[in-house]
């Protein structure tokens, strides 16, 4: 049965809240009281969803019902400034989470399926280690988008992350599979140590994009100030996949004015220190 639960934040907390329970799977089949009793962790103290949120169970939203994710697992609609709520959507496998506001760090980490739509900003480690599903952020995101936690060899291993605004450092660090697309600019070391997959940066990227990458593709639509010396120039060409990726990103609402589906790219191979099997594609002309 399709479930549509709406949680409206009354007052933002002063302390960080561990909100691992805020995934659609936790809400399916529960009544208002059960949902209100779901646990959260405020600092080191156990609290409940009802301590922070007004809970409403709504009729199925025909708009949400059209999405495959929502049909499978229901919709969780969160309203308010949730920038102190960490781990929202962590480990979700199905359904859809819509946030009208900002979310804290680790949103969508270890996600295996479903959709997380954030109509605001996101914190660090957005989609870290995710292996499936889709994350869309209308605003900006913090550092380590789709990256690996400390100690792990691989970060994100599947799914897609689409950020309309800017992102911080280490976007897609140790990415193994999947797509991270940033409409705006990003910080240092984008795609650091990437093993495979695709990282696309629409705006400016700061230093050392693709450092230590082993395989995979880094697409920079705005040429950076410098390419690392451990990348070797190959050629200029129009990649066959670009028109498809362009259309797919447009479908997610990520448009790049001035970059056409027939754009031409400079190709560089690297990082030579890691075998030189990865590639950086620099968009050469705007049309």
């Amino acid at each position: 049965m399709h479930t549509h639960v709406k949680l409206t934040l009354r007052t933002p907390p002063d302390l960080p809240v561990d909100a691992q329970s805020l995934i659609p799977e936790s809400f399916v089949g529960k009544d208002q009281a059960d949902i209100g009793a779901l646990p959260l962790l405020l600092g080191n103290r156990s609290v409940t969803v009802a301590d922070f949120f007004d809970v409403a169970i709504l009729p199925a939203d025909p708009g949400d019902g059209r999405t495959e994710e929502a049909r499978e697992g229901g919709t969780l609609h969160l309203c308010g400034d949730l920038s102190r709520f960490k781990h929202i959507g962590e480990q979700m496998a199905c359904g859809r989470v819509v946030v009208d506001g900002s979310v804290g760090s680790h949103a969508g980490a270890f996600m295996t399926g479903g959709a997380l739509d954030v109509n605001g900003e996101a914190g660090d480690y957005l989609g870290a280690h995710m292996s499936g599903g889709r994350i869309t952020v209308r605003g900006s995101a913090g550092h380590f988008v789709g990256a690996a936690y400390r100690g792990y060899v691989f970060g994100m291993t599947g799914g897609s992350i689409c950020i309309h605004g800017d992102a911080g450092h280490m976007v897609g660090a140790r990415l193994r599979r999947g797509l991270v697309a940033v409409g705006g600019s990003c910080g240092d070391l984008a795609a650091y140590g990437m093993r495979a997959g695709t990282v696309l940066i629409g705006g400016k990227s700061r230093v050392r994009a693709g450092a230590n990458m082993v395989r995979g593709t880094v697409i920079l639509l705005t040429p950076p100030e410098a390419i690392m010396p451990t990348f070797r120039y190959n050629c200029v060409y129009c990649p066959g996949f670009w028109p498809i990726l362009h259309a797919s990103l447009a479908g997610l609402g990520l448009d790049f004015p001035g970059v056409s589906p027939q754009a031409v790219f400079e190709s560089y191979s690297g990082d030579i220190n890691e075998g030189g099997r990865g590639e950086i594609l620099l968009c050469r002309n705007a049309n």
Binding site: Y149, R150, G151, Y152, V153
Partner: protein, 550 residues
């Protein structure tokens, strides 16, 4: 006083094999119940062990639980901590980790398996202060550490002396000085000469390869140290990690080392890693049968196994060249430390998989050693924690030893060629509880020279583990009904109910009080610390207990 009643006692040191007996405990020691007034016995605090096996507390002869490399492992593998978290309770502190657990967690996990004494197997003397600081933080266990000497500059300088009499005398003075400097319990030798050789060359030292800078050979190192350990009468013999760990065909080196040391008390550690034959194409086969045959004929030798456990783990050893080779082979994370004048160390995370032929052979070789060596007092259960796997896998290994059908059920999970390269699946032997008691506590305690541990006779430390007798031996040994440490109940039904601070076991053999002038000059010229800051002070030892030599 406290008594444990109705339990089936397995105390192989005293020939007690499953008889129902009562155990009496007073002031942290086991006492005789003879002549005790029945009324007095009835008034004692009583633990009912009906349906249970009563064993001495476990004694782990070789584990890596403290020191610089363990701490480096914790830093290097935070991923081990994310999934294994213990919240604080009224009794316990919080902790995390399974492969390289935090200090308190290490004590709790061991205690929850019924272990009460554990030895840290490799501590270079210069790192000993750090190791003791961590050992002080591990509750529930009596601990001690082995001082690494096989690549020590001072040792090699002394061994370079051409005069055999003076060489022996000086080594007999230097070894106790190093043991006292590190407040260690025994002499450990890791890849003798090989680590130093790696700093100058390829690091593949054979027994007769002269090792720079002094030109002594691994054979000279092991014989010199074995003689010194014997003449000092240290409670535990030389604890030897042979050359060429992990190489196909290394059984030849191991046998050659055994022949060299024939007649000297020696403990060969994680022998599984040194028991590989080689196929014509250079691949791995089992060499366990040859080693078992040799050990059967040489009662002066013992070994622990270093049994492989399938899954993720972290290798950490003073055998730095081996770790470098492993890193290059697997492309995994690598940590390395040059321990200046005393050797090296390295860390590489690995995953042992049953479908990988080499891993499957390693797994089979460990079990073969345990099953082929006839005398259980000569072979002990370890996983070389965490190198071959975490010590928490001991119950599973015990099940493999006690249940031949279960062991055979593993065949289909392994690489198909393992059947041709090993003899494991032709072995029908099943361990009984007495033999398990030997390889996990009685035998290890005896080999360590701990007269008050590993048995339940009067005067022994009241370290006792009581396990419910179940057909599933893994379940039986993973959740003891009771564990007593120094006479106090610390674990009930697998849960920690009290925290107890253990003791530090060390030795104090007679030797140099001060380094001779030439060695002190070498020390002053080469070490990064002053001699005055080298010795570990008493305050770094937790309730020290000096085990007598001789």
């Amino acid at each position: 006083m406290l008594r444990i009643v109705n339990g089936r006692v397995h105390d192989p040191s005293h020939g007690v094999g499953g008889e129902v007996r009562d155990i009496y405990i007073q002031d942290g020691r086991i006492v005789s119940g003879e002549g005790l007034d029945p009324a007095q016995a009835r008034d004692m605090e009583t633990l009912d062990a009906a349906g249970c096996a009563v064993l001495p507390g476990g004694v782990d002869i070789h584990s890596h639980i403290a020191g610089a490399k363990v701490n480096s492992g914790r830093i290097m593998c935070p991923e081990d901590h994310y999934g294994h978290v213990r919240a604080a309770t009224d009794v316990t502190r919080p902790g995390c980790g399974l492969i390289v657990p935090s200090t308190y967690e290490t004590g709790y996990l061991y205690s929850q398996l019924g272990y009460t004494t554990v030895f840290e197997a490799a501590v270079p003397p210069i790192e000993a202060r750090h190791a003791h600081e961590e050992l002080m933080d591990i509750p529930m266990l009596d601990t001690g550490c082995f001082a690494v000497m096989g690549n020590n500059y001072l040792v090699m300088k002394v061994l370079n002396d051409p005069d055999p009499v003076r060489r022996r005398e000086r080594l007999r003075g230097l070894v106790p000085w190093l043991l006292r400097a590190s407040r260690a319990f025994a002499v450990k030798v890791v890849n003798p000469g090989g680590v130093e050789d790696w700093k100058w060359n390829a690091g593949a030292a054979d027994l007769d390869t002269p090792t720079p800078p002094f030109g002594v050979t691994p054979r000279q190192i092991v014989t010199g140290l074995a003689e010194a350990v014997d003449s000092l009468g240290l409670p535990h013999p030389m604890h030897l990690h042979c050359n060429h760990l992990g190489d196909p065909g290394n059984v030849e080196t191991t046998l050659a080392t055994m022949e060299t040391l024939s007649g000297h008390r020696t403990h060969f550690t994680h022998l599984q890693y040194h028991a590989y034959g080689r196929t014509k194409k250079g691949g791995f086969t089992s060499g366990a049968a040859r080693l078992a045959e040799y050990l059967d004929a040489h009662p002066e030798f013992t070994c622990d196994v270093g049994q492989i456990v399938f899954g993720n783990t972290l290798t950490m050893t003073s055998d730095a060249p081996m770790e470098f080779k492993l890193h290059k082979m697997r492309g995994a994370k690598w940590g390395n430390c040059d321990i200046e004048m005393e050797g090296g160390s390295g860390l590489v995370p690995v995953r042992y998989a049953p479908k990988v032929l080499v891993n499957a052979i390693q797994w089979a070789v460990g079990l073969e050693l345990l099953l082929l060596i006839k005398n259980p007092w000569q072979v002990f259960l370890t996983t070389d924690h965490p190198n071959a796997g975490p010590f928490t896998a001991y119950p599973e290994i015990i099940r493999l030893l006690m249940d031949a059908d279960y062991r055979r059920s593993w065949l289909e999970k392994l690489h198909p060629r393992v059947r041709r390269r090993t003899v494991l699946f032709d072995l029908d032997r099943e361990y009984d509880l007495d033999e398990i008691a030997v390889i996990t506590r009685a035998g290890t305690a005896r080999r360590l020279g701990l007269s008050s541990k590993g048995h339940l006779g009067a005067g022994a430390d009241a370290d006792v583990a009581v396990y419910p007798i179940l057909s599933d031996k893994a379940a039986m040994f993973s959740r003891p009904r009771f564990v007593l440490k120094q006479g106090e109940l610390v674990v009930r039904d697998g849960q920690i109910v009290a925290e107890r601070t253990g003791r530090t076991l060390c030795v104090a053999p007679e030797g140099y009080r001060q380094l001779p002038e030439d060695l002190a000059e070498t020390f002053a010229g080469c070490y990064t610390v002053k001699l005055a800051n080298y010795m570990v002070e008493d305050e770094y030892l937790r309730r020290p207990e000096v085990v007598p030599c001789g």
